[in-house]
């Protein structure tokens, strides 16, 4: 099976098949003969050329979160014929639209920019209070404030859209 796979947004060409001894996997031409053992609770034990690795895998459809050697990585499988990962296509089209989302639940203390204002990369946008601390949400690029979707003192949930910058 041939797939294009992204690990933490970086693309890899992957080919794999089941074999008598386990699984054969090639990543960007690097070949691995894997003796894989599925343990319980999402854990896997791999032997690759007798090197032992332990992995924890959490799967949601074609997306995987994998913990190996203490590092958590996001792995995205997709079929190049059927779809493009959304973010990638936008990036390649040069569109830079930022949606500022709440990283955690909390209360909006105040805005540091207003509608229409130009913002710099790293500039503070919103102060969010959570866990008794004030936290500044910053711009990840240059743009203009298009929309403010919440109000001061509003209580927000994690992931809620707060502001759009284009």
């Amino acid at each position: 099976m041939k797939r294009e796979v992204q690990v933490d947004k970086k693309s890899y060409q992957v080919e794999y098949e089941k074999t008598a001894g386990g699984i054969s996997v090639a990543v960007n031409g690097r070949c691995y003969q894997v003796d894989a053992s599925a343990l319980s609770g999402g854990f896997y034990s791999f032997l690759v050329n007798n090197r032992s690795y332990d992995a924890f895998v959490s799967r949601e459809k074609e997306s995987f979160a994998v913990v190996v050697a203490g590092r958590t990585m996001e792995v995205d499988f997709y079929d190049p014929r059927s779809r493009q990962p959304a973010e990638e296509s936008k990036r390649s089209a040069g569109i830079s639209r930022q949606v500022i989302r709440a990283p955690m639940a909390g209360r909006i203390v105040r805005f540091q920019v207003g509608p229409g204002e130009l913002v710099q990369d790293g500039q503070g946008l919103i102060v969010l209070e959570a866990m008794k601390m004030e936290n500044e949400l910053k711009s990840q690029g240059i743009g203009q404030v298009r929309e403010i979707l919440v109000t001061e003192n509003e209580v927000v949930v994690p992931g809620q859209q707060l502001m759009v910058i284009e």
């Binding site: 894997v34 050697a69 008794k132």
Partner: protein, 499 residues
């Protein structure tokens, strides 16, 4: 000794206190907010009472609700843990009025030490060096501005009633003073219902070194050596160790003597910590006294063998400490890493969420104090501390290597954690050589690097295996339901082999 006590706290510290109680045959009463019904401290306790809704002000900070639970349960004493009401003199006073023992120093001492400006004056009076700054708590911007000009920038603004890193701001330029002043007042009020402010000289490259003390009501005051707590983020400690590589015997002698003197001066009782800033020239300045158990107390327990909670209980029950100063020796080296649910790549913002997998280390020299379990949700309402991993070894380098080994055995999935950051810190040259100060984290650690190809390849291999071994949408299968898509674990053919 008490036969039943109430623990007015939650999470790992509540469980840790209950562990000692269980070992001493003391029944434990937990209190919990509606958000904490399923929390580990409720499960661990002998009894548990709900004291209100999730916001701390309406539960863990609600003195009357806690006292009512204590009365209903028949508890004789209240252990406040750290945070919440631990350094609230009014609560200690209310316990006394209600005929309950507050496990900590007297309300008067808490008031004296808990209020930073009074503490400053007390220290000055007993000859302990203090940080240059305003002599009292301030309430208006203009006075703050004047003081800043006197002592010179940078300065630290902090909540007079504060502690635990909350309500603190560094000001390096006068232009930023107004905003910092407002923020500290707001945070201070939200956390402590007190908006007064202290202004002190800020030492950018100082070390944070503290001395653990224990005192009873029979006049015994002893110290249990120092803890080095310089590695901090957002003014909260993340790694602590004992002994400090920076403290030589001469400095240790001075620091511990100053701490004991400070405790004696106020008639202290129970466990307490005297925090010092130590500059590069080994000058030290009194920072504050925490009149409670510290988060990082395991470090001291590991090097001295003294159970600090047991000594707190003895002192509170009017008994004598179980040890005297000459019997206490420092044995080896201990280190603690605090594992937080936080986003280290985004200014250490807390990262609440469901803990879907939690594996903690075992083996020689490792101690785990966790307050979570698999399937439990880290709430946005409280401190996002998941667990404290502590190690003991004969010397610092062995302890460091042991801690790295222990961190390697850790796995927390479902929330972002600072585990990777801990690994990076412990392998940093400056950390290895002991050249750490309070800005270590800012200075020494670059952002998260992209996964190297060999790790990415393993992640891909793991995903491929997951694809081949299970149907989409399911991530965890009970062990008994495994099917043999390829060679499966523990499903070897017994009958095919010769017995």
């Amino acid at each position: 000794m008490f036969t039943k006590i109430l623990i007015a706290n939650r999470g790992e510290i509540a469980v840790r206190i209950m562990r000692t109680c269980r070992e001493m045959g003391i029944a434990t009463v937990a209190v919990f907010s509606e958000a904490d019904r399923a929390s580990l401290h409720v499960r661990y306790a002998d009894e548990a009472f709900c004291i209100g809704p999730a916001p701390a002000l309406e539960s863990y900070l609600d003195a009357e609700a806690i006292l009512a639970a204590a009365r209903r349960s028949g508890a004789q004493a209240i252990h406040p843990g750290y945070g919440f009401l631990a350094e609230n003199s009014r609560f200690a006073e209310r316990c006394r009025q209600a005929g309950l023992v507050f496990i900590g120093p007297s309300p008067e001492v808490i008031g004296q030490m808990g209020n930073k400006s009074v503490a400053r004056q007390t220290m000055l009076a007993s000859g302990v060096p203090v940080i240059p700054g305003a002599t009292g708590a301030l309430e208006d911007l203009e006075t703050v501005r004047r003081v800043c000009r006197e002592i010179g920038l940078p300065v630290m603004l902090k909540a007079a009633a504060g502690g635990g890193g909350k309500g603190m701001r560094i000001v390096t330029e006068e232009n930023d003073l107004r905003d910092a002043f407002s923020a500290v007042r707001r945070e201070s009020y939200a956390s402590f219902a007190d908006s007064r402010i202290l202004v002190e000289r800020y030492f950018p490259a100082a070390r944070h070194i503290e001395v653990q003390i224990l005192a009873d009501s029979h006049g015994n005051v002893i110290h249990l050596f120092e803890r080095e707590c310089s590695i901090q983020r957002r003014y909260q400690k993340v790694i602590e160790e004992c002994p400090s590589v920076f403290v030589d015997d001469a400095l240790r002698e001075k620091l511990t003597a100053a701490a004991v003197q400070a405790a004696r001066a106020v008639g202290y009782s129970g466990a307490g910590t005297v925090e010092f800033l130590v500059d590069e020239a080994k000058n030290f300045y009194f920072l504050e006294m925490n009149t409670r158990l510290q988060v990082e107390h395991p470090v001291t327990e590991l090097v001295t063998g003294i159970d600090l909670v047991r000594e707190q209980l003895l002192a509170a029950a009017g008994e004598r400490l179980s040890v005297a100063q000459p019997e206490i020796s420092r044995h080896g080296c201990a280190m603690e890493c605090r594992i937080y649910a936080e986003d280290t790549g985004n200014d250490y913002l807390p990262a609440p969420g469901l803990i879907r997998k939690a594996v903690f280390p075992e083996g020689p020299g490792v101690r785990v104090d966790s307050g979570v379990y698999e399937g439990w949700e880290v709430s946005l309402h409280y401190d996002p501390l998941i667990a404290k991993i502590s190690v003991w070894a004969r010397n610092r380098e062995e302890a460091r290597c042991r801690m790295l080994r222990a961190l390697d055995e850790c796995l927390v999935f479902g929330v972002k954690t600072n585990l990777e950051l801990h690994r990076a810190m412990l392998t940093d040259e400056a950390f290895i050589s002991g050249s750490i100060d309070t800005r270590f984290l800012d200075r020494h650690l670059a952002g998260r690097q992209p996964a190297p190809d060999n790790l990415a390849d393993l992640a891909i291999i793991a995903s491929v295996c997951s694809t081949l071994s299970s149907s989409p949408g399911r991530e965890e299968r009970p062990a008994t339901a495994e099917t043999g898509l390829w060679r499966m674990a523990s499903k070897y053919q017994f009958w095919a082999t010769r017995f």
